[in-house]
């Protein structure tokens, strides 16, 4: 679930993007993933966990602080 690079660094930025997108209800939005990722599948797993968390618990707990421009 926690995506990492091949040299073992945690890709926090990917998780942060998933979480931020979730606060905007944009669960399926693409996130930038570096080519050095060890296991691409970890991002998919994290995305689904974030979706589940927001459905079960986080929906009213976390709101985006600024609305995103709809382009």
């Amino acid at each position: 679930m926690i995506p990492k690079t091949r040299s073992g660094k945690t890709l926090r930025r990917v998780l942060r993007d998933l979480i931020e997108n979730a606060t905007h209800d944009e669960f399926d939005k693409q996130v930038a993933v570096p080519s050095t990722i060890e296991d691409q599948e970890a991002v998919t797993v994290a995305r689904e966990k974030v979706r589940e968390y927001f459905k079960v618990k986080g929906k009213d707990l976390h709101k985006a602080t600024e609305a995103r421009a709809k382009l």
Binding site: I2, P3, T10, R16, T36, D39, A46, K49, T65
Partner: protein, 341 residues
């Protein structure tokens, strides 16, 4: 002398892994493979035994994978009890932050089963520096005389710290304006110029990118490492996280690494990754992704109340109430081990 190097990405460590051992006529053993699952979590220790490895170099993430599969260190203990790990003098860790729990665990194992005085040495550097920026020197006398056979007792380690600045590197901690902060206070880790002779002096055919990437942020005064951390009163350097992994909660700066460290002191948590989640009141709150070290993985993404409360308590106790987690998601480890893939 033989060295065992375990590195998934070799290029940036080539100098340490191959060139540096050659300078002293040492043999390097490169192990390319998984630390667990091929066939078990004892592979590293088998190689130490079979090749009489004296100095081992790996990333903490490999040790975490072993801890997850072999929580009681049975493989290490078994080989250790046979006296098969007596050659090992040092276990070097790099590539990412080593949390104190993993350093302490292996320091105990080394003291029990390996060479007298064997140490776990967390060290910090980058491709750009070309050699360790901080660490603990095992043969400090070689700094004066390369062929010296003197082996003064090394400085002691502080789990969680990546040691002291190595010769040639002038390491400082500064605020966002480039002003040095007090000892023990977290800030941006920078280096004074010139760097040690192993380090880069430009980027290939791209002076401008070199300037923009490393020098511009502090107006040419310091080289920006992009890492955040602190230096204590004795000069030990702790690298907490990448500078952009610092979360701002109601004007308090927290390192994701420090919060992750507090979370992983919970015995059921194998690993944690903390990021900032937007919050209307405080700007951001820390939000944790955790993987469990329990054999049975619960299915749901939301941890049960007991675990959530226990983890929250650890964060409050070790970091402070203001760092309380805004939320938590649990999941399986994206493990290197074959069962999980």
């Amino acid at each position: 002398m033989r060295d065992l190097n375990v590195k998934q990405s070799l290029t940036s460590y080539l100098r340490l892994a191959v060139y540096a051992p050659l300078l002293v006529g040492a043999t390097t053993v490169l192990f390319e493979g998984k630390p667990v699952g091929t066939p078990d979590a004892g592979t590293f220790w088998r190689i130490v035994d079979e090749y009489k490895v004296t100095t081992m170099f790996t990333a903490p993430t490999a040790l975490r994978a072993i801890r997850r599969d072999d929580g009681d260190n049975e493989f290490f203990e078994r080989r250790g009890r046979q006296g098969a790990l007596k050659t090992l003098r040092a276990l070097f860790l790099a590539g990412e932050r080593s949390e104190p729990s993993i350093v302490e665990m292996y320091q105990k194992l080394l003291a029990k089963h390996c060479a007298p005085g064997a140490m776990v040495v967390d060290n910090w550097w980058s491709s750009e520096s070309g050699s360790p920026i901080s660490g603990i020197a095992l043969s400090a006398a070689a700094g004066f005389d390369f062929s010296s056979q003197d082996r003064p007792t090394p400085l002691s380690i502080k789990p969680g710290s990546a040691g002291k600045a190595m010769p040639g590197f002038d390491v400082r901690v500064v605020d966002d304006e480039g002003k040095e902060v007090k000892r023990g206070v977290m800030g941006n880790i920078v280096m004074g110029i010139p760097l040690a002779p192993t380090a880069f002096t430009t980027l290939w055919e791209d002076e401008e990118r070199f300037y923009k990437g490393y020098m511009k942020r502090f107006d040419g005064k310091w080289v920006d490492t992009g890492d955040a951390g602190m230096i204590d009163n004795s000069g030990y350097i702790s690298i907490m996280s990448r500078a952009d992994d610092v979360i701002n909660v109601a004007a308090h700066r927290f390192s994701t690494g420090a919060i992750e460290q507090a979370i992983t002191t919970h015995p059921s948590v194998a690993e944690a990754a903390v990021v900032g989640i937007p919050d209307a009141l405080k700007g951001h709150l820390p939000f944790a992704f955790i993987t469990l070290s329990t054999h049975e993985h619960p299915e749901g993404a939301v941890p049960d109340d007991k675990l959530a409360n226990e983890v929250q308590k650890l964060v409050r106790e070790q970091i402070g109430a203001i760092a309380s987690l805004g939320g938590m998601i649990q999941g399986k480890a994206s493990c290197l081990c074959t069962d999980c893939m």
